[in-house]
């Protein structure tokens, strides 16, 4: 999945899972945990979503603070890098 595809799928997943924000209101820099658009109970679901979307396992113990800050940060961190 490219970064553009991941971004689109992630936005859709957040809006559907959260139920607290509309598609238009969710910007790519909206702080989704700080604003509690996603709560702590959604964090593991987000990990599962990203594992399925990227096809790669995620070791939660190695996740860094701030990695789920917003759509931009998540996509930069988890999208597949194009071959150089």
């Amino acid at each position: 999945m490219t970064e553009i595809e991941l971004r689109e799928a992630l936005r859709e997943w957040i809006v559907r899972t959260s139920g607290r924000i509309g598609r238009e209101a969710l910007r790519d820099d909206t702080p989704i945990l700080e604003q509690r658009i996603l709560t702590s109970l959604h964090v593991l679901e987000l990990v599962l979503f990203l594992e399925q979307a990227t096809g790669r396992p995620i070791d939660v113990q190695r996740l860094r603070p701030g990695v789920f800050r917003d759509v931009d940060t998540i996509c930069r961190s988890f999208a597949a890098r194009p071959p150089s």
Partner: protein, 295 residues
Amino acid sequence: MSHAALPGRDPRGLPGYRWLANGQSTLAGPLLDLYRRLDRLFLSWAEEWGATEYLFPTFLPARELACVDYLRSFPHLATFPVALDPDDENLLAFTRGEAPDAEGRVRLTATTPVVDVLTPAACYHFYATFRGEHLDEPRYVTTRATCFRRETHYAPLARQWSFSMREIVCLGTSDEVKAFLEDGRRRVARYLEEIGLDVAWEMATDPFFRPQQSPKHLAQRLDPVKTEMVFDGSLAIGSVNFHRNYFGEAFQMRREGRDAFSGCIAFGVERWLLAFLTCFGPEPAGWPALPPGQV
């Protein structure tokens, strides 16, 4: 900083200090005066925001904590007030027992249902008090409460079953609360620098039950909301906490049409006392200037 002033960070033996094996301290004389002056210092910071002071009772109804899932998140820390069932036969049966036994244990007969919890953190009282309120401006409040946290071990002034916590709390919009917390951190850091108390600001998480299995712990680790004031590498003497709108949502507190945000600056009074004694020594002449202690 002279750590030789209080070897091993152990206040036992200081005039006016008595350590109780059940994780509690008795203070008198200069130590009590320092305790009061420290709290007066925290209160003077609270006054700079115009914070209203509250004095709360010791118990909190368990149902108030249920809406923030406290007892499932921190069951290992909770302490409950318990009383004997007032039935005359039950009380008579109790009086016929050995209370306490040779090991100090009181064997209870029938008890009344437990519906309260001893205050685990000072600021919970505010959310229960302001439940359902719509705020038309940011609200600044403060309280000092005796808090109770069951631990696996205790240490004089450093880790106690009951201890004093002063909190300054802001309820408002996200921006109002963040500005309060930044201002508070700056204010405290400036004071610590002025007096030469060596404190590092470190990100931390709350002490959740089974943290490896706790989604709340994972969320706090990934989006830190707690910064501790750590003295001498290991003693957290206070913290700055951003709750987001967690309490606003749980207690239906609203600000500008949305769930209110909240944050608090918390000071562990006994731990500040220990940091002062460790850094400046037990002699009052060595302590930095503090406001008079009329609290």
